[in-house]
Point group: C2
């Protein structure tokens, strides 16, 4: 649930008038997203999404995020496209915040994706990786292996409040990843947050992908690893190999994996599980006063991490190349 | 901020298909309203508002609320109109909750209404009172004078936590109102919650009124009293008599007040202040675990109550009949 900044009708009307989209007729705060304030804005020409970037977003990253959405859209990838205002700029200011308006994407996210939807996700993810080629701005992944130890340092001494022995377990994971994280796999632009609520479907078909505010340059297969965790576990924490196979089949129909990428999947999936476990652990232990967002349970990703730790090769999942 | 119930795309699609509005293409939870879950739904025929009625709404009141919106719409009053499903019913069920879809109303609520907007509100409120005539279902006002003592009983012993002496002060107010509340003023259907966020304006003109979930049968002038409090005080807690005069002028251009109604305004405004003070006091002292709504400060309405207590006749406000 997220509207952190109140906007008055006068200032929003003036902001909308700086674009060539007709006059504002309505706006509603959207109860989704945990990083920024989002509004569904209606003007005389249709619906748009307005985002006010809150303090967790670094303003210097905005040219990357907005430029990437524009780059992907131009290459036919279905994602929100930033509107340019009358001065030709995608980035404006509203209510003391950096702000942008993007096109509205039809479709809905699915609470429990089907095998077929996992396959479609695989196809779209590979298309995203291909469409990202040639994008000129670079953004390092602040939440890759190098970012985990500083993040853990901010909550390590309280980790055992969540589960006894957790501090020691994570410490060992960090040492392992710092020694073994792959460096020579294919790199490119990744979404880095392809959870089910960022992927829309309409009438059975994937209609687009949203929320590029974690996108960065990193190992392409790391995006797959994130999705193995986010899409292929059932509510009872069991890994659904049929979904994983479908996702990889879809992905490889567009961009086949190298043998090195394929073999790295268990390690990458374990690392991706640690990354989301750590951010959830931090948020869990640091709920701000008056928080309007319920933190997500870090245990879910701890279980996924342990599962992947038990895997030696993708064959152990049941995934053939 | 309010989406209390998660809805899956499958169940919402099926629900929308029970109406003759085309297929569902998108839906977003709306971060407004504190009683129910609201979604902005887009279908092939346009935008609609879907409301899931949460436990603070008594299901037996829903025929009154939905019937009233239909009754008012039929008489040309601008408010959301409930859609009838293929079985001819306005009330359905979704995700284990009573649910309804209503037409989407263009316009935006104003954070700081102008004098002119107060006048327009007065006009619309009187039109609402007139349009409500002939509506056949009755609903008593559970939050009129008879409901205040039971409400206070649930938080009286903690009232002094908010301000020293408050328990005693409210006790005296209750005694006063129970002895002096008027009984013979004109009655009808009132909105009973005409705060600024329930009144939409578009291009300077009032475009409609929403949220009829406190509507009931009560003294018509009590609605005016609620609006004197909600629209005619400035952020520094000062009463703005120019706005109050404009509101009454607008109201009386459609429905002139009787002398008895005019003379009762200070008492009714004081009572309306107590009513909102009491619900805010209760909510302030009873924030549920994991609440996603920040309770409103009860002191604001205590100040309004004390201001009205110092008034003998509407002439003391500066309002002539």
């Amino acid at each position: 649930m997220a509207v952190y900044t109140e906007v008055s009708d006068e200032e929003l009307s003036a902001f909308v008038d700086s674009y060539n989209v007709g006059a504002l007729t309505s706006y509603k705060g959207i109860a989704e997203g945990v990083e920024n304030s989002n509004f569904l804005v209606q003007t005389e020409t249709g619906p748009y999404i307005l985002t006010l970037y809150e303090k967790r977003v670094n303003p210097s990253d905005l040219p990357f995020f907005l430029g990437l959405m524009e780059h992907l859209s131009e290459r036919g990838f279905n994602c929100p496209t930033p509107l340019k205002n009358r001065e030709g700029k995608a980035l404006g200011h509203l209510a003391g915040r950096p702000a942008a308006m993007v096109t509205f994407l039809d479709g809905m996210w699915v609470r429990r994706p089907s095998v077929e939807q996992c396959e479609q996700l695989g196809v779209a993810m590979a298309q995203l990786h291909k469409a990202g080629e040639g994008f000129e701005i670079e953004r390092a992944n602040a939440l890759s292996v190098g970012g985990w130890r500083p993040l853990f340092a901010m909550c390590a001494n309280r980790a055992d409040e969540v589960q006894k022995g957790l501090q020691n377990e994570i410490e060992k994971e960090l040492e392992y990843f710092e020694a073994h994280w792959p460096k020579d796999l294919p790199k490119g632009v990744i979404h880095a947050d392809l959870f089910v609520d960022n992927v829309f479907f309409l009438r059975g078909a994937l209609s687009g992908i949203i929320d590029f505010y974690f996108a960065c340059n990193d190992l392409l297969a790391y995006d797959i690893a994130i999705c193995l965790n986010a899409w292929c576990f059932e509510p009872d924490d069991m890994f659904n190999v049929t979904k994983a196979r479908a996702m990889l089949k879809g992905y490889q129909s567009v961009r086949p994996l190298s043998l090195e990428e394929y073999n790295a999947l268990p390690l990458l999936a374990r690392g991706a599980a640690l990354r989301f476990h750590l951010t959830r652990l931090y948020d869990w232990l640091n709920v701000p006063e008056g928080a309007q967002v319920t933190p997500k349970d870090p245990i879910e990703y701890l279980k996924k991490l342990r599962f992947h730790r038990s895997i030696r090769t993708p064959m152990d999942y049941g995934i053939e190349r």
